[in-house]
Amino acid sequence: MDFLFFISALVAVAGTFLLITHRHPIYALLGLLVALTASAGVFLALDAPFIAVAQILIYAGALAVMFLFVLMFTDTRTDEDTGLPKAVTARAVFDVALTRPARIKKKKEGEPSKYNPLRFLAPVNPMALVISLCLLVCATFAIGQLPDSFGAFGTLPTAYDGTLMNPATVTAQEAAANPNYLEYGTTEAVSRTIFEGFPLAFEVVSLLIFAALLGAVLLARRHLAGTGMPGTQDVGKESEHA
């Protein structure tokens, strides 16, 4: 378990660095994918196999594909690609509009920067770095202030059957013989928690996801004109398309 955790943590940190340092969103997405998958390993090390599988299905599966699709839809170039402050970029665009030859000359001058080994890294934002490091220091201090009971993971109860079985007195074989045998973190235990403990929250979340589905379809539609939706205008011929 310890081994699994430390390997997963290492991979998660590596993926995080990939996410926050890379300039191109596709590579950053790859880093996010690595970090989220490694987090599934962390969940597995924390005796939560159901959460680990859900993590891979939802985050690494569905969300990553959604991000990838939108990255393909949109232009991934931003000012970050030029490595220039925004004002300079705006001026460069202005120059292009007035004097086209100047731009060509500029491009040739900029050629050697292609061979810069750090060209794929996003420029470091010192203010953001200071703020996030302060946050990390504060969080580390808070973790250090935790009571001693957080010094170790205790032994899990052998089984859950409404009343717990003491791991000191009940062996695993005896617990498994119980018809209501439930192990910590398994699908059955988590599903019974959902439906016996929090059924209303579960239903509300399913409604939320349905609403999000409808909202996403509505927001991303191409032709809103002619649908009579508030905030849209008929644009003549296009309204027949809608």
Partner: protein, 113 residues
């Protein structure tokens, strides 16, 4: 020996990295990705606390099946809300891109005085 504090430190690091990503990038999709990382760090904290609580066997009220798995249930809720949030967020980004032809967050400043 694996300690809860080590896991919590990993979560704190992931959260801080997410904050750095949100603050330093201008691409809207990069913002959403860093946000996902922060939510994931919170999930790790929830699962850790759930495991710590389950390990404190006492047989008393609140340490039964539901009490021991509450943190994992909250994690599932966070995942569902994150999925909904990303769906809406990406749809908004597509709409913004269609209107402004850029995914730069600084481009959406129409309300700026």
């Amino acid at each position: 020996m694996l300690e809860p504090k080590i896991v919590l430190f990993l979560a704190a690091f992931l959260f801080s990295a997410g904050v750095y990503g949100v603050l330093s990038r201008r691409h809207l999709i990069m913002l959403l990705m860093s946000l996902e990382l922060m939510l994931n760090a919170v999930n790790i904290v929830l699962v850790t606390f759930s495991r710590v609580w389950a390990g404190r066997w006492s047989g008393a009220e609140g340490t039964g099946l539901i009490g021991a798995h509450s943190g994992q249930f909250f994690t599932l809720m966070v995942m569902a809300v994150a999925a909904a949030e990303v769906g809406i967020g990406l749809a908004i980004i597509v709409a913004i891109y269609r209107r402004k032809h850029t995914a730069d967050s600084d481009a959406s400043a129409d309300l700026k005085g």
